[in-house]
Amino acid sequence: MFSRREFLMAAVATSSVLGSGMAGRWSRAMAQQRLTEDGLLAMEGTGNLTLVHVTDIHAQLKPIYFREPSINLGVGEVAGKPPHVTGADFLKLYDIDPGSPHAYALTSEDFVSLARSYGRMGGMDRVATVIRRIREERGADNVVLLDGGDTWQGSYTAQQTQGADMIEIMNALSPDAMTGHWEFTYGTDRVKEAIDALPFAFLGSNIYDNEWDEPAFEHTLMLERGGTKVAVIGQAFPYTPIANPRWMIPGWSFGIREEDIAKHVEEAREAGAEVVVLLSHNGFDVDRKLASRVPGIDVILTGHTHDALPEPVMVGTTLVVASGSNGKFVSRVDLDVRDGRVTDWAYRLIPVFSDVITPDAEMAALIDKVRAPYEAELARELATTDALLFRRGNFNGTFDDMICEALLQERDAEIALSPGFRWGTSVLPGDAITVEDLHNACAMSYPAAYRSTMSGATLKDVLEDVADNLFNPDPYYQQGGDMVRVGGMGYAIDPKAAMGSRISDMTMLSTGEPIDPARDYTVAGWASVNEGTEGPAIWDVVESYLTRTGTVSLPENQSVRVAG
């Protein structure tokens, strides 16, 4: 349950600077004395088989800052349950010390000061070290490496190379299988070309050919590792043609299709699988529900909603594992398989502290190679920020506040809309905003920043529609993004209200007047899923705003009030 509150995302950023008593107590050196590569990787091995999971890397080759959400509400049965626990509640729930490395990695508490102490996280060269060490410790023949997708999109270099940079890096890691979501936004031809060249399986149990209604992708990979027969079933993001442009992949239909998963689980067991794994891009709540309805899955490696949990959530005997995003974490799941079934397990969510884990030299060289043609452009500074820039949160993020302000000013609009994506890295106060930072928040294949008119009634429909995608009490009806971000307009939202009646008090911030359902408003936005959308690329709009502005300072965002 969440209480009524005046909702101020920016206030959280402020408190992390002013501190809760923790700020400044941790020097970088002190923090790192407690952190070692061996310490991060140490785990008492269990059983004979190890699953290694990475997901939602969003093309982040280099170490990044990524602030986890301070607001991530659950409705219905999942209210107050992980991953819908944030901040101090999260620390309490998992008994994590405030100010500790895990507090920094897993929550938004004291983010700025802890970021300065502990440094950036991730980096595919560090991820490579973690994976190599697990393979050395467990024996490569006993390890299955799985990539949950959203790997090929999310950076300047990925957009420039249509994912080729990430494909080269991932190939070097030798995963056994992947599934996808944003991969599909490169369009049918590019996806087919890329998948045909992959030296490992691209799985999508839930992707059908639209014309003949036949499965369009492999659904299951059968492996033998650690003397154990393992079935990996792949599930792509079910709402790819809805949340992203359908016209780019007109021949493919998706959907949850849980009956297909159930069928593949049965088939896998009949074929002798002792362990059944679902490599999923469903999102956490969808997978939790699915685990309660489809019997026989030992482990669901979930993705899409970018949650990082220090231990699996158990649904019956199914482990639901959430491995975070952006290369911040690598999940290791050890399984003891005896007499054809899992008898014991152990888990470690390994936080990839980039200053602590040694980069893998070969991978570091490869990353340098794929980035070399773009390094000068990536490092180009556009402005400086006084505020912490981040995206995650159900209703607002400062990065989107900045994008909305750029849309309002550069496109001369009354209202700005920015999609509630969950990818996009963070920039610390006082730091320069580089081309790389900007593109981490908007690199995509449909970037046109439109300028259009919408009636007040249409604007309400848009907000209600997105709110239901986020807060429908049945997870199968959720799409897994956050609320569309709004500039120039405020509103109140009751997440627990019924579909179509969550939004109220829509107000023009400039005048304080209520939004008139019958009046047309000038609206600027980006990332429309409609074909033929016209306008400059969003990164050009924001770059123009940034170079003109010089220093970004954002007022507190008080435009969204959470009621109920």
Binding site: H181, W182, D213, Y239, P241, I242, A243, N244, P245, R246, S253, F254, G255, I256, E259, P419, G420, F421, R422, W423, Y450, S452, M454, S455, A457, T458, K460, D461, V462, E464, D465, V466, D468, N469, N472, D474, Y476, Y477, Q479, G480, G481, V484, A498, M499, G500, S501, A527, S528, V529, N530, G532, T533, E534
Partner: protein
Amino acid sequence: MTFNRREALAVAAGALAFAVTGARIAWAAAEDTKKALMDFTGGAEPQTGRITLDAPEIAENGNTVPVSVSVESPMTAEDYVESVTILAEGNPSPAVATFHFTAMSGEAAASTRMRLAKTQNVIAVAKMSDGSVFMDTKEVKVTIGGCGG
């Protein structure tokens, strides 16, 4: 680009409550749907079970939404499914399709595509050879799309 002006979603909110009421479903439905249902069942009280309606939770394209239906039945001369009708209660005209079967059909299963004007309940009703009637319902969302990820 164009944004379609849509009906306010108040109707959909009503539909949600409707789905929760379960057995009393026929009495909560819109007038046209109720009438179509009565015409099909001849007034018999629909039961739950035996019939399975399969449709996406969220439509990828409201203009062509796949829907399939199957009914458990021995399909013998003594006991078979006579017909199955599909209704979309939020469409201007709720009737989507009616399929007729005989014992010779072997199984009572059918699939088609339908247009859905907005988020609504889709209802499938099977009439058995003994006059009993079974019903399944599923809410299908028709969204504007584009803000997930």
